[in-house]
């Protein structure tokens, strides 16, 4: 096999893996959008906050340490313990559920019946609040996130492909883990929303609030549920991205990468988020590999957005989104 083709295959595989990570972030958006029609601007910051919390708990950091030290003149930074990864993840998930409950009680509850744009604005406020709150709580330094996920090149794939083609593929172990976790998450969420009682209620709330109330669905419960799930998805995304590039403010910017994914896949479709993520992941890599060298490279920075723009022009509902027909 020609080396060019092998190289293209490797690039495609890596693109798929990267795409899964994009899809993971996009998934959080889709969940909240489906259940409440809100575009949750804070989703990226939620991922950052979740990752910060996870690292904080794991390393036994004292929350609000700087604040406490500044006020009381003390010198506390860490508890004398470290928490095992698994327990830390469970605790961080708990914090995200608590966060969902607080958002429902103090933000959404007061905005029932308001136009979507108001709710959207509220999530922007929420994003900035959480950004600052996360900093005060856990400090703003760059943190290393290590929950024991395998990292570095996968030796088996390298060896196998080398034996077959005489060219070893470089696939990162972390990407493989991320792909598996994301697939499981998507399968679970799809089954949940299609076949469970709560899933049916969730889709009902997404369509019509009054009708949902009239069949006995509690909006509060559904909203807390859906923000909890989105918080959990944010935690998973935070872990994967955090393990890759450290936990720092730029983590919240991955939300920007999720936008083109959503435009492609459609805002209301869980499978859409996955396919959109994969298309962008692969497209980005292949474009950089084939066209990139001709136009000076660094095409990853804009490729996704241009693709999204094209979709907006020709198929604004995305690949899987519901076509909106307004009856006049």
């Amino acid at each position: 096999m020609p080396e060019q083709l092998l190289f293209a295959m490797e690039v495609t595989l890596n693109g798929l893996m990267a795409g899964v990570l994009y899809a993971l972030v996009a998934l959080g958006f889709v969940l909240i959008f489906k259940a409440s029609g809100i575009f949750n601007y804070a989703q990226g910051v939620m991922a950052l906050f979740a990752a910060l919390t996870l690292v904080g708990i794991q390393q036994g950091q004292v929350p609000f340490a700087h604040l406490i030290n500044a006020i009381f003149g003390t010198e506390v930074h860490h508890f004398p313990w470290q928490v095992p990864s698994l327990i830390a993840i469970v605790l961080a998930a708990g914090v995200m559920i608590l966060f969902a409950w607080i958002v429902e009680k103090y933000v959404l509850q007061h905005l029932i019946g308001q136009p979507d744009i108001i709710l959207f604005m509220a999530t922007i406020g929420l994003a900035y609040f959480m950004e600052g709150f996360g900093d005060i709580m856990w400090g703003s330094d760059i943190k290393k996130l290590d929950v024991g996920l395998p990292q570095g090149m996968n030796a088996t794939i390298d060896q196998v492909t080398f034996d077959w083609f005489g060219y070893g593929f470089f696939i990162d172990n972390l990407d493989i883990v991320a792909a598996i976790v994301a697939s499981l998450l998507v399968a679970a969420l799809t089954i949940f929303s299609q076949y469970s009682k709560q899933g049916r209620a969730l889709r009902a709330v997404a369509d019509d609030h009054s009708a949902a109330l009239s069949v006995g669905i509690s909006l509060r419960f559904i909203w807390v549920l859906v923000w909890s799930i989105a918080g959990f998805v944010a935690l998973v995304a935070g872990i994967m991205w955090g393990a890759k590039s450290g936990v720092q403010f730029s983590l919240s910017l991955i939300a920007l990468k999720a936008l083109p994914v959503l435009m492609l896949g459609g805002f209301t479709s869980i499978p859409g988020a996955i396919v959109g993520g994969l298309i962008i992941g692969v497209g980005e890599q292949l474009f950089e590999f084939t066209i990139g060298p001709m136009i000076g490279g660094a095409t990853q920075n804009w490729f996704a957005y241009v693709l999204a723009l094209i979709f907006l022009i020709f198929r604004p509902q995305g690949l899987f989104g519901e076509k909106i027909i307004e009856r006049v």
Partner: protein
């Protein structure tokens, strides 16, 4: 059991052989204000088990407000709501629904993204008790429940003659069928009181006849207690056992269709009164 046709008795039998039981829903001195506007002023009436009760009145009389008070969407400033012999504390609409009260809306509130069958299945949500874990395993309780609930929904679908659109997304249906699907969802909940907000609004003559037939059959076959709002007097008079007439938020008449028809206040409200 003694049968009587005396309407003042605890339970009586109508001319067409249906049994009307004791009071299910009792509204006592309800007053509802929006700021300075009084939508409902000191209205009392009751709904008895098994009857078709109509609330009529000209546009803006406060009929829909009344229905929203019954179903918990509005909270009256004064007055009491008694349901099945107990005073109802202030409740959220979903809690009222869980007590066994189903309703339809004037401007159709359906789940457009879901199929007809799924829409009707949401009417059964309150009857499903299996927890998430049982649903995940999908054996035993969860499966039995789904099958039992599905059967009830299929019965309702047959009854309302919408078999041919079971799998169609509701958003694609014409107006008349949407109204029928909404009715099906409410009926699937097997409510002890069914509230219909202008079930015939915007329909043509044929659709109105169908809807009237469904309402009568529902009441007759399942013994469903129905309270409905209409401003088309003709339809209501043929359907209902008793009628409440509202005008400008006040009750101006209450009784059998015949009594109401001959009530001077009602005639004035509907036909206008000359001021000479």
């Amino acid at each position: 059991m003694t049968t009587t046709t005396d309407m003042n008795a605890d339970s009586y039998v109508t001319a067409d052989g249906r049994t009307i039981g004791p009071v299910v829903m009792d509204m006592k001195n309800i007053t509802l204000r929006f700021g300075g506007v009084v939508a409902i002023k000191d209205i009392s009436f009751d709904i008895r088990e098994g009857e078709i009760r109509a609330i009529i009145g000209p546009n803006g009389a406060g009929k829909s407000s009344m229905l929203n008070v019954i179903s918990g969407f509005y909270k009256p400033q004064e007055g009491e709501v008694w349901f099945r012999g107990e005073k109802r504390p202030p409740m959220k609409p979903y809690q009222v629904a869980r007590q066994g009260l189903a309703r339809t809306f004037q401007n159709i509130a359906l789940f457009d993204g879901m199929t007809v069958l799924d829409n009707i299945m949401t009417g059964r949500l309150n009857h499903m008790k299996a927890n998430l874990l049982q649903q995940a395993i999908w054996k035993g309780k969860a499966e039995r429940e789904e099958i039992a609930n599905r059967e009830i929904c299929e019965k309702v679908i047959d009854f309302l003659e919408i078999q041919h659109i079971r799998k169609t997304p509701v958003g694609r249906l014409p107006y008349g069928l949407k109204k029928r699907v909404e009715l099906a969802r409410a009926l699937a909940a097997q409510p002890s009181l069914l509230l219909l907000d202008e079930p015939m609004a915007g329909m043509n003559v044929e659709e109105k006849e169908d809807m009237s037939r469904f309402i009568l059959d529902m009441n007759d076959e399942f013994g469903t207690t129905i309270a409905l709002i209409e401003h088309d007097m003709g339809v209501v008079m043929d359907l209902s056992d008793r009628v409440v007439v509202m005008d400008y938020g006040k009750k101006i008449g209450d009784g059998t269709p015949d009594e109401v028809r001959n009530n001077q206040d009602v005639i004035d409200a509907y036909l206008g009164v000359s001021h000479d």
